[in-house]
């Protein structure tokens, strides 16, 4: 029997509607709510880039080169007279593709290998975990740098490089959860009743793994954006004609000293805002999904 010292929660009875609770939590986490709205908005902008962007992203106009912000070009133009806003909007596609793609790939590969390690245990697990240790021995960015340098800097390779650095996280998460479930008595009981193993895994794995995975994946997308932009800065980023915010910022860096600061500032801001949004949503989700935090206050 727990005493009241811990928290007064055990005494709670559902006295209010679920909707109200959700609203209360959003109100408490208004920052995360705004961040989520930004992400959703950015996804919509990326999807509708062709309609939203005022100009073709690659349409050069030498007469309008290096113009500052104006009614015609809200965020100015670059040396080729391309509209910066349109380019940022179109670049969102590449950035979000890599961010979501890398996370999805890492999640898929990580879960699969994690499940194998968890299922076979023993030697297989040992070998897999030593490989994971080796991969994790590299700071993520350094590994991504080495992989991109080796494979060449296409969207696919950058995506893959970032994904590889994230695999261990999911792999260990899934593996650990499988180990935990195997230990549990009710899994044995369910097996006796005749449920196939995968079903037991799936039923018990999903609800336990999902919250940390969602939180992890959200944060990872922010890191993916940062990694990509840093790769671009050191010259390993995505190549034209595709542009992404990081390479745009890196290119823009050449122009700050000559006064064309917008080329550096705005793509960089796009990264900052998106990473900030992913992080805030991740933090918010952590609070929201972590059962220990639920209901306090």
């Amino acid at each position: 029997m727990a005493d009241i010292t811990e928290t007064p929660i055990p005494l709670l009875r559902p006295a209010t509607s679920t909707m109200r609770l959700v609203w209360l939590r959003i109100r408490r986490n208004w920052l995360s709510a705004i961040a989520l709205a930004i992400i959703v908005a950015m996804i919509l902008v990326a999807l509708g880039a062709d309609w939203i962007a005022p100009y073709e992203p690659d349409a050069t106009d030498p007469d309008a080169a290096l113009q500052s912000m104006s009614w015609h070009h809200w965020l100015g133009t670059d040396i080729y007279g391309r509209d910066l806003l349109s380019r940022i909007i179109h670049a969102a596609r590449v950035d979000l593709t890599v961010a979501f793609g890398a996370t999805a790939v890492a999640l898929a590969i990580g879960s699969a290998i994690g499940a194998i390690a968890g299922h076979y245990r023993g030697l297989v697990d040992l070998v897999i975990m030593r490989c994971v240790d080796s991969v994790m021995a590299f700071p993520a960015f350094i590994l991504a740098m080495a992989i991109t340098a080796a494979l060449g800097n296409s969207v696919g390779n950058v995506l893959l490089a970032i994904a590889i650095t994230q695999i261990p996280t999911y792999l260990r998460l899934i593996r650990g959860e499988i180990f935990r479930i195997r230990e549990m008595e009710y899994a044995d009981a369910a097996r006796v009743v005749g449920n196939p193993a995968w079903r037991i895994m799936f039923i018990h794995l999903l609800p336990n793994c999902l919250p940390p995975i969602i939180v992890q994946a959200t944060l990872a997308m922010g890191y993916a954006l940062l990694t990509m932009s840093a790769l671009s800065f050191i010259g390993l980023g995505i190549q034209p004609p595709q542009s992404e915010w990081g390479s745009m910022t890196a290119e823009g860096a050449q122009y700050i000293v000559t006064g064309e600061w917008w080329l550096f500032l705005f793509p960089g801001l796009a990264i900052v805002i998106m990473v900030l949004a992913f992080n805030l949503v991740g933090d918010g989700l952590r609070d929201f999904l972590d059962p220990r935090m639920r209901g306090v206050r």
């Binding site: 030498p62 004609p241 860096a253 000559t258």
Partner: protein, 543 residues
């Protein structure tokens, strides 16, 4: 004062944003140093080797030009209408290690008279014996001089280098050789005097020319000596007190490694450095921002650096001459020169640079004419849009910008162009393997001679540098037969014939010749630009 100028410039450039930050101008750390004896220079290269006889980085060559003396030198004369700048002119030479020279055997032998009382920093004399040792080493040590010397000078064995008396040395070439070619070759900083007494103790059985040691140690007789070389940080040179040219004003040269161009601009604008050198050093767009700044001076003179659109003839449809001609008609060079080069360059009329003997600007029919280009495409039978990759090197800003202009025009005549950006090394590798389709290439010949220039670029046997993979036996024949033709008139006529073939075959998509441009503190004069484009600090002074 200086800081105020900076602020005003910045305010002008960036408008409202700066106003809020504006109050701190007085904190500037500008260095007033007229008459100072230290010159701080920014560059973007390390020194990979100090051995004159091996192929090396720009940094290696640039430093070597100040640590060694050439045997013969390119003479410089003031450029008219420009303050404090001189340049070399075709076929004008001056004495250096060789005070004077004469030709014998109808030009098959050159006799060099070594400058008297010339010494290495060690105090040992630079004499015929030292020169003989150095030339023997060039011919025999690992490195690329052993390939180039027999080709150009037609000296293949040490026995052909003869010491006649302590101050006289003769080179016996295979036959009569064009004199300017010989003198140009002897003006290269890679063919110089090394202090034999420093090399010899470091030689081993496996390494008889001490190639390992020479990589890290300078043994020249030049106006400067190397004090420190800290890769990635700085290189410090100090002037010799006893050099035959006299003592330079700048006693100490500090070359700071600044890999990022934006940083170089920043440092120069803040006067943390006096001068930016290197290739490209500063790109035209950044140079332009210094045009109206009274604290800085831009020195710009025409040069022999060629930039062209390389078309790999092993890739369809670039094997078709009509397609290549069409591309030449589509290149908007008239727009690129002012908009990309900001005027710091000029349109290419021939693959042989305008300053090179034999250059003929009248041969090329090409000018921007899309109708003509489309007609040629039609004649070539190319109807469906053709997709091609156009590769440029990362960080070569004019190339990246020009690529976009070219892309736009080529797409108007039936191409779909993907611009790809490669690091320098990848670019070079793809080019030499023949994996490029279109790329923007550059070349500068240290020896200002049409044949020296054309052979590596267009001769069918020139692997690696003939990036078009162009092969034309008729051209090969002209180049081979006239490379060492001593008759000046005949040789120039052959150069013209060769040029015509190359232009008619539209081997290159002709782009531009660069200007040689330096931005520096406004009180620096005595700038000298030679054919190899490397800076000599000995002539620089304030005034």
């Amino acid at each position: 004062m200086a800081s105020r100028t900076d602020r005003r410039t910045f305010l002008k450039l960036s408008g409202a944003g700066a106003a809020t930050l504006g109050g701190f101008g007085g904190l500037s750390a500008a260095r007033a140093q007229a008459g100072s004896s230290t010159l701080t220079v920014a560059w973007d290269t390390d020194i990979d080797s100090l051995d004159p006889h091996v192929f090396k980085s720009v940094g290696g060559y640039a430093v070597q030009c100040n640590l060694y003396d050439p045997i013969v030198g390119w003479k410089v004369r003031p450029v008219e209408g420009a303050k404090g700048v001189s340049r070399s002119f075709p076929n004008e030479f001056e004495g250096s290690i060789a005070e004077s020279w004469t030709f014998e055997r109808d030009g098959a032998t050159i006799v060099l008279k070594v400058r008297p009382r010339m010494t290495f920093p060690s105090g040992r004399p630079v004499d015929a014996a030292a020169l003989k040792y150095s030339l023997d080493r060039a011919l025999q040590s690992p490195g690329y001089m052993r390939f180039i010397m027999p080709r150009m000078l037609r000296v293949t064995k040490p026995e052909e280098i003869v010491v006649r008396d302590p101050m006289t040395i003769a080179l016996d070439m295979k036959g009569p050789t064009p004199q300017p070619m010989v003198l140009n070759f002897l003006s290269l900083m890679t063919i110089t005097a090394l202090d034999p007494e420093l090399i010899k103790p470091n030689a081993t059985e496996k390494d008889p020319w001490a190639a390992d040691w020479a990589k890290r140690n300078a043994v020249g007789s030049g106006p400067y000596t190397l004090i420190t070389n800290t890769p990635g940080v700085e290189v410090v040179l100090e002037a010799r007190k006893d050099h035959w040219r006299g003592t330079p004003q700048f006693q100490k040269i500090v070359l700071k490694f600044v890999p990022n161009e934006a940083d170089r601009v920043l440092l120069l604008k803040r006067k943390a450095i006096d001068l930016v050198i290197g290739r490209p050093g500063l790109s035209p767009r950044n140079i332009k921002t210094f045009e109206n700044e009274k604290d800085f001076r831009i020195v710009t003179v025409p040069d022999t650096t060629c930039h062209w659109l390389a078309m790999n003839q092993t890739k369809k449809p670039l094997d078709n001459v009509k397609v290549r001609q069409a591309i030449n008609y589509a290149i908007p060079i008239a727009a690129i020169v002012p908009n990309v080069l900001m005027g710091y360059g000029s349109a290419m009329k021939s693959p042989v640079p305008a300053l090179t003997p034999g250059h003929d600007a009248t041969l090329s029919p090409y000018k921007h004419d899309l109708d003509k280009a489309r007609a040629l495409m039609k004649e070539a039978g190319v109807t469906t849009p053709v997709t091609l990759d156009l590769a440029v090197r990362i960080g070569w800003q004019p190339h990246e910008e020009a690529a976009v202009w070219i892309q736009r025009e080529l797409e108007k005549i039936g191409f779909k162009i993907n611009i790809t950006r490669q690091t320098d090394a990848t670019f070079r590798q793809l080019a030499s393997k023949g994996d490029m389709q279109l790329s923007i290439e550059t070349w500068q010949s240290w020896v200002n001679d049409p044949f020296f220039h054309m052979v590596p670029l267009f001769h069918s046997t020139s692997k690696g540098t003939n990036t078009a993979f162009y092969s034309n036996p008729a051209l090969d024949k002209i180049l081979d037969e006239n490379y060492h033709e001593p008759n000046v008139e005949k040789r120039l006529a052959a150069a013209k014939a060769a040029q015509k073939i190359v232009i008619d075959d539209a081997v290159w998509g002709m782009l531009w010749y660069d200007n040689w441009t330096r931005v520096m503190r406004n009180d620096i004069v005595g700038v000298e630009k030679r054919w190899d484009t490397f800076d000599r600090f000995t002539s620089l002074k304030t005034g």
